[in-house]
Symmetry: C2
Subunit: 339 residues, 2 copies
């Protein structure tokens, strides 16, 4: 198992990336290839106590970096030697089993599509984070890669999310729900109504455990294992969760700081609070899988620290070992619907 890591992507590159990559490689039994500026990577290795490049680690030297201000649509044509572009090319050519980057989401998505390419027959790759719910977790697909969608895209997302939940999360029969503004069949726009009909057919044919429409509230309460939606609504759901999380955090902090008694109370519930915060912490979750690309690509949070990168490496290795891409390729005929 060899994971390619964009050493230059994210707010804390390259030190935290290198630190997390080394830890992840050890923990998950994977070799690591760092792409990026060689001297900066060597310096970071040094800071981690490695005067030389250690065993199981390689450097693929590049001279450029994708910046946050670069236009995703043109950056790989303008800059031929970026840590992200070179990593995605290596991945395509078999120089590694998965690629992880904490760099620009838009550039990574464009690069994955243009350089590493989609699985043949897949219309659009989707971003599919695993989000916490009251009772466990759920795959949210898509969460922002495709603002505008057709019923065919959504049907494909449903299969992609279903296979991800089976192969990577180990669920036997994931409950797939279509995000909507009510549970009734008549709810939503034409996009939801047409997708609902297609997914009901898939369920009737025994291809999927489709449970119908689901409201955001019920989905977050744990009402399904795969939440299927267009990238616009998925992003609103995800960012709303983050917003309320931050809102609740601020309110709780204020509440516990009120007086001596509440400060003592805070000590008593600290372990529980930390456990709850941990469930919502993107550093613990790792990253967001791009599903539909012909090789595993993981987007780590831009603010990733070493722990987040370590977890993203684990997620990338699990994705690569899961057989997910083969499973999608075998079942691609199910995902073709007439326009």
């Amino acid at each position: 198992m060899k994971i390619i890591l964009d050493a230059m992507g994210g707010d804390n590159a390259p030190l935290e990336i290198v630190k997390g990559g080394l830890a992840g490689g050890r923990r998950w039994g994977a070799d690591i290839v760092f792409t990026g500026d060689e001297s900066a990577i060597r310096e970071a290795l040094c800071a981690c106590g490695h005067g030389e490049v250690p065993a199981g680690v390689e450097i693929a030297a590049t001279s450029q970096t994708v910046d946050m201000c670069d236009d995703p649509a043109t950056v790989f044509r303008r800059k031929k030697d970026t840590s992200m572009g070179v990593g995605l090319t290596m991945l395509r050519e078999g120089g590694g089993d998965a690629f992880v980057s904490a760099g620009s989401t838009g550039a990574l998505l464009t690069g994955a599509t243009l350089i590493t390419k989609r699985i043949h027959g897949i219309r659009r790759a989707a971003m599919a984070p695993v989000i916490p719910t009251t009772t466990g977790q759920a795959v949210l697909i898509d969460c922002g890669a495709n603002a505008e969608c057709t019923p065919e895209y959504l049907v494909q997302f449903a299969y992609l999310g279903d296979f991800y939940a089976r192969q990577v999360l180990g669920l036997k029969s994931p409950r797939v729900g279509l995000l909507n503004i009510g549970a009734e069949d008549s709810k939503g726009t034409d996009l939801q109504k047409q997708t609902l009909a297609r997914l009901r057919e898939a369920a009737a044919a025994g291809h999927m455990n489709f449970i119908g429409n689901i409201e955001a509230k019920e989905a977050i309460k744990g009402g399904c294992d795969v939440i299927v939606t267009d990238g616009f609504s998925g992003n609103i759901l995800l960012k709303s969760m983050e917003g309320v999380g931050s809102f609740a955090g601020t309110a709780l902090k204020k509440m516990f700081k009120k007086n001596l008694l509440t400060k003592l109370a805070a000590l008593a519930v600290m372990p529980g609070l930390n456990e709850f915060k941990g469930r919502l912490d993107p550093n613990k979750v790792g990253g967001t899988a791009f599903i539909g690309i012909s090789k595993p690509v993981i987007k780590a949070h831009g603010a990733s620290n070493a722990e987040a990168i370590e977890n993203a490496v684990g997620q990338a290795a699990a994705f690569a070992r899961s057989g997910l891409i083969e499973k999608i390729e075998e079942n691609i005929d199910l995902m073709k619907i007439e326009q």
Copy 2:
């Protein structure tokens, strides 16, 4: 000031509606007209200690009720004498200054549009709850009345929300934001891009304090006072907030129940916790205003108790006193955009 109240709508009708209506009438200095089954209303008045119909209260007797299973599109044609339909007709004909119902949202919206009618020039009425944010509150418009929208609808929602924030919430120069999946102008679908351009023009002409695109997370953190969006995304945002609120509530409860120490801790922070819960409690907020209808219509939560109805009556009275509808009528020319 006279508020018409649908005594038969909602899970706790008619007792809690009558109780809340009486309290609201006293508290906000308004006369109350209850529409619905006369004997049921009299019985509820009796249970509130009124053997006779008290001063400032009237009953408009009706023989039918809009049920949750009734098709909103046809119910007012099939049932001519419902508590909701009669109330909306009274409102149109000047028999009261505002109408409050905790009944079916879809029926109330259809009835308000078909019976009470939209303001001339307004394309679609919107549902605009005031939601809590980290720093205060914001008007969310639309939150579910219109799943499918055009740029013109959204431009109108922006003005409607802006005027509501000025006239009813008393803000001098509300910050109006367009809900989107990123702050950059290039984000979102054609709907957002075209709306953004129109609202920038409105801002340039000095008609509105438009701050551009806003992400759900930033909106919930308090980044704007009016969140403009289509009813689909608005509903996802609102229901996500409710979902995470319930999620956090469950997690906190579990945390505080762990052992004797955490139970004592719960006592110490109870006032703060209750204050936080109160900010998110729909019973404290009152209801959701329908904006764009020619008279004030307020949808109270289906699960409304007396306190919720009391607050909804206050909100209805504030809406009726605000001059909002006149303000919209005066400025209707600003809201007409060419297709």
